[in-house]
């Protein structure tokens, strides 16, 4: 018997098979990463502690009721105005002497905060508040802090705070990261995010 050559395998359908697999993986792929508002919870303290004494003028109270309505500093407010109100509270700079704020541009109202280091925003929810509303309020308050931080970073270092953080987290950033970290830390010290959340009322 004469030895015959093995016939060539037809590879024409290989593309079809590969396409099938490709489409499957295309459909199941989720490339996008999650994003959201990051927060740090206070550590658990089982026993009741004496709350530190804080002057009323340094507290900015935001109450949200079960109908998703806002009560800010004992006045009814729409969510659209919250960011500006919080910003004005932080930037007030009503302190004198040791408590003076050297960069604030607010009017120095004696009934509002002395400086951003002392200012505390207190958020109280109702158990019936919708989560969407809560996130909107959180978002606006964080935005107020970022607005002030951006302004100061722009003044001191010539670029906004959000830009600095973005560059710090960018692995391809070629500048001096140590210096950048220092600058971010300085801004954070200048304007700390003091957002206190109380237990929800029922």
């Amino acid at each position: 018997m004469a030895r015959r050559d093995a016939p060539e395998v037809n590879a024409g359908s290989m593309a079809d098979i590969a396409f099938l697999l490709l489409i499957f993986f295309l459909v199941t792929t989720t490339i996008e990463t999650d994003s959201g508002i990051s927060r740090k919870l206070p550590p658990w303290q089982p026993e009741e502690q004496e709350p530190p004494v804080i002057k009323q003028r340094n507290i900015f109270t935001v109450l949200v009721n079960r109908n998703n309505e806002l009560l800010v500093e004992d006045e009814f407010m729409e969510i659209e105005e919250l960011r500006q109100a919080a910003f004005e509270f932080l930037d007030n700079g009503g302190g004198t002497g040791d408590e003076a704020c050297d960069f604030c541009q607010g009017p120095g109202d004696p009934s509002s905060s002395v400086n951003p280091q002392k200012a505390i925003i207190s958020l109280v929810n109702n158990r019936g508040t919708e989560y969407g509303t809560y996130i909107a309020v959180q978002n606006e308050l964080v935005a107020a802090y970022n607005q002030l931080r951006d302004r100061e970073a722009q003044r001191l270092y010539g670029k906004s705070f959000t830009q600095m953080e973005k560059e710090y987290n960018d692995p391809n950033y070629t500048g001096n990261k140590e210096k950048l970290k220092e600058q971010i830390g300085a801004i954070k010290d200048m304007i700390p995010q003091k957002l206190s959340e109380a237990e929800p009322t029922s």
Partner: protein, 160 residues
């Protein structure tokens, strides 16, 4: 002269498709590598709220997911319409959150534990009561880094 005439009659040669499988395979491998299969099947409604002051949540292996919301329509017959917590692939009660955190920590390397973040994927219609209960449990379990997962967009849209 005839030399030149011959060529004009031949027409366009067919494009070789021999390298097509190679190209497709290249794409295939790319998508195979970047694909992340969904870890959990959602059993709750999960329409996330919008926010624009967001930070990205990189390093997916360092994130623990807690879902909460109303049970999906096909589970409503058995579990009702009251908002529930979902951990892994099943509904859970508030008291099981701590257990879940400890179990998740067990699976991670020890030096990575301080970097673990808990992502709360909560439906926007959920009441804050449930969310605060989860937060209290997280505080007890010392999982203090949390992230409220949101969609990117104007936060005022949540109020509608």
């Amino acid at each position: 002269m005839s030399k030149f005439k011959k060529k004009t009659n031949e027409g366009q040669p067919a494009i070789s498709t021999a390298s097509l499988p190679d190209i497709v395979f290249m794409l295939l491998f790319f998508f195979m590598v970047v694909t992340v299969m969904r870890q959990n099947t959602l059993m709750v409604q999960n329409k996330l709220p919008y926010a624009d002051q967001v930070e990205k949540l990189d390093k997916k292996d360092l994130v623990m997911y807690i879902y909460a919301g109303k049970p999906s329509p096909r589970y409503q017959e058995r579990f009702g319409t009251e908002a529930r917590i979902q951990l892994n692939d099943k509904f859970a009660s508030v008291s099981e959150v701590q257990q879940f955190i400890f179990a998740e920590r067990e699976t991670k390397r020890e030096e990575l534990i301080p970097y673990l973040t808990t992502a709360l994927k909560v439906d926007e219609e959920t009441n804050m009561g449930l969310v605060s209960d989860i937060k209290q449990e997280l505080r007890k379990a010392e999982a203090l880094k949390i992230n409220y997962t949101t969609l990117q967009g104007d936060a005022l849209r949540n109020m509608e």
